[in-house]
Assembly symmetry: C2
Homo-oligomer: 184 residues x 2
Amino acid sequence: MEGSGEHGETSKGPLSKGVSRGLCILDLIFRVIAVIGTLASAIAMGTTNQTMPFFTQFVQFKERYSDLPTLTFFVVANSIASAYLIISLPLSIVHIIRSRAKYSRLILIFFDVAMLALVTAAASAGAAIVYLAHNGNVSANWFAICQQFDSFCERISGSLIGSFAAMVVLILLILLSAVALARR
Amino acid sequence: MEGSGEHGETSKGPLSKGVSRGLCILDLIFRVIAVIGTLASAIAMGTTNQTMPFFTQFVQFKERYSDLPTLTFFVVANSIASAYLIISLPLSIVHIIRSRAKYSRLILIFFDVAMLALVTAAASAGAAIVYLAHNGNVSANWFAICQQFDSFCERISGSLIGSFAAMVVLILLILLSAVALARR
């Protein structure tokens, strides 16, 4: 609010402008972290499969991520989020230079919120399935498959981390954009 | 940006001010819808149980929502979101009167985003479990329990609707707040 009596780029003091630029650079860093998180999750999950070695050549037990539809959704959602985040990087760089942009920030908030919902949905649906794989469920007669497929289970559990990290970073990104809008 | 040369409540034209007030009233309406959605979901899921009538008095098959930990999380998350949304209603009313508020809007965005993550997580984890209950999974040897517990399954499927609706409304709420911040 202070010094908002003028139009244009020069309406804020140098300190305030520096803080605004700092927020924009933080935005860029967070976006890169989120790209890494979602991409790592998608790749780690997408390359997961385990074949049981001790069965005959006729009956082979093999578990792939695509046997569980929820894990397929996890891979697709994380890939989409990662692609969007890479596309949004140039816009984030533009914001560092033009820190008073309004409409482009609103567009970024819109898509960031949508991607937050997508990544959160993927991460938590994945977590629900991974939990079942580890613990099973007595009343529904679903057995824990992790006793047979231990490396498969470790892998799908690990790939959740990147997705949950991306979720937290996306929340911070939305808040950063909101603060930047409020400071204009 | 237009007419931003003055401080205080009177800096915008009457039309622009009317639009701002309209956005705030929309915010209030959306919040009420989200309260109804999350509350209905929590209650519908929280009261779900089914006892199979055709078993003996010694062995009774009963399925309750709390047998599946994910569904318990669903109830808790929707209750928390619904409680937060009710608490946020007065602040939303204050925004109708004082449409240039900045910090209270930022606080609302912060909690709205957190609640969006919570509701999305609950809805999608619930959906993953409901999908399994309906379809089972061949490779993991998880059987579809909906063949035995049909009314249980209908109930838990139905209670997802309110949660997903609340998710969409929360996304719109965050966007409304962002637009309101940008229009200040």
